[in-house]
Symmetry: C2
């Protein structure tokens, strides 16, 4: 049993862009689990744009306080259990924070099935896959033949959302940063078209990629991309509001997109925010359907795995800069 635990602390709440100076690697004594608690070894830490949002204030969870262990979900393995709900060797998903080991109440851990590759539990069968699945199918509700646009399309959620749209008989348009990512979307992932938002003239490029307009927009980014999509939406279009990653790192824009609420009224649009926890009751069915697509080779699962706990801050900073393709995670053990 180890008695030392490496931890990455959030040193201060970033005012502008997140940098490595906001983090510090520290070592602490490993606490003993109390009655009802477990000791878990962190295997893979999930990197998500939401990590950054949590630093700014309360969202669907309370804010991460400066001086504490950086919060983050991870795939972990039970080492010691003082709860009948979990046994040593069990795999769990939990907010362990960025550290080698975590002690937490058993009720805060979700037991996961053993499944290979393990990393799929954090990508397609994890929050990313379920977010893509429910956001597209329950919120966006595209019909066959409709045009679905997805932003951050090369990311963990977007890459799956666009492919699910294709599986459901839609035309899928990906919006991503850089020609390379765009080529990957239309090549390996089978998107019908891709738009490079960094190339400028986004409204025009979007119109060319979606000449019949957009019926469903899966929004991961907010900001200018949301604005450009609002203008291309078709009558009775739906926007699934999943995130606003363009606004998380650095000073958020002082205003929202033009066209709110004017275009919403005139086009009778629906914008709906959601969060994967809202669909807990449908989780098992969703995972079964995602697995059937993966097993049939219809869903390409891209993962971006970085080695070493000490590299977690850099991995998040890079993710916010858009350097990843697919689901980024850090292998801790």
């Amino acid at each position: 049993m180890p008695d030392r635990n490496r931890q990455i602390l959030l040193v201060e709440t970033p005012k502008g862009k997140l940098g490595t100076q906001h983090f510090r690697l520290a070592e602490a004594l490993l606490p003993q689990p109390q009655e009802g608690e477990v000791l878990a070894r962190v295997r893979y830490i999930s990197l998500d744009a939401a990590n950054r949002a949590w630093m700014q204030g309360a969202t669907y969870r309370s804010a991460v306080q400066a001086g504490s262990v950086m919060a983050g979900g991870a795939l972990a393995e039970i080492i010691e259990s003082r709860s009948p709900a979990l046994q040593p060797g069990d795999l769990i998903f939990a907010d362990t924070g960025w550290q080698d080991y975590a002690v937490l109440p058993a009720w805060r851990a979700r037991k996961l099935p053993p499944l290979e590759p393990l990393t799929h539990l954090l990508s397609v069968y994890g929050i990313a896959g379920l977010t893509a699945y429910f956001g597209l199918l329950r919120v966006g509700k595209p019909g066959p033949g409709e045009t679905v646009a997805v932003s951050a399309a090369a990311g963990s959620v977007g890459s799956l959302a666009g492919q699910i749209a294709k599986i459901k008989g839609c035309r899928a348009i990906g919006i991503a940063g850089g020609a390379e990512k765009c080529a990957w979307l239309t090549g390996a992932l089978g998107f019908d078209a891709a738009v490079d938002y960094k190339a400028g003239a986004l409204p025009k490029a979007l119109k060319a990629a979606a000449p019949d307009g957009i019926d469903v927009y899966f929004d991961n980014v907010g900001g200018d991309v949301l604005e450009a999509c609002l203008f291309q939406m078709n009558l009775r279009g739906r926007i699934a509001c999943c995130g606003a990653v363009s606004q998380y790192d650095g000073a958020p824009q002082p205003h929202g997109p033009r066209g709110v609420p004017g275009l919403i009224v005139v086009k009778r649009l629906t914008l709906q925010g959601f969060i994967v926890m809202d669909y807990e009751a449908e989780r098992d069915g969703a995972i079964a359907e995602l697995k059937s697509w993966v097993d049939a080779g219809r869903l390409v699962v891209q993962e971006d795995i970085i080695d070493g706990l000490e590299n977690t801050p850099g991995a998040l900073i890079g993710l916010l800069a858009g350097e990843n393709r697919g689901k980024r995670m850090v292998k801790v053990a």
Copy 2:
């Protein structure tokens, strides 16, 4: 049979604030109805913020062109008919334009039941009443005990929407301009609270009026009021996007409200645009229910009737400045 027809022309498309100089009273020969057409005498012209929006470009209808008769809905009486669908003496609602008489295809007129007072056909049983009814009940979907906020609450739609919220067991908060309107809302109309947006400190006043937050916001105005409401919305709140009157007259704000999409995601809000025509199939049932409330004295119908076709431009300009209470219309004949 008259052979002269007074008409109000839109002289030029206004760039900024609408003024009387944008209109001109003219006289034209009265055309003869052709096969399938009717000649109607305009009785009451409906004034709506949408009249102003139509000048700026295509919305759910094509833009009003400079030099043509100003468009507008009206209650009119059939004088001559060359269609089996309508008979002389029938009452219709149609986009007659601002003039004494109109010739139009019979299929563009909706036949109305004879009902006293006639003006109710333009207010509570017309577009205003149906917009309030469907927007609140089908889009906002408030449950009993929920808090409903309504902007432009002293206007034709808002004054009814707030009262319907009360009938449905909700707490109704009105947002209006000026202490007098606010006193009227909480007095004669029975709103639980009213907020004067012209008094400043809107977010604070809103919080005081809705200490438990807002569950449903019926948005007639967009802009700063929408922004303030977004910040007070409760989890899973719904915003019925009915109009954006704050943006119609003069230069629209270059951006939308802060909090889009961030607050939509975090609070899982739904913003939905709608237009009364979307609920055509449910129209008769809605009117029957509205009538039952009016007959029982549960729904106060406020009308603001101005006399004379020549006063229509001023009546619209005043409506955009918020000088009316309840449904404004012009009595032509």
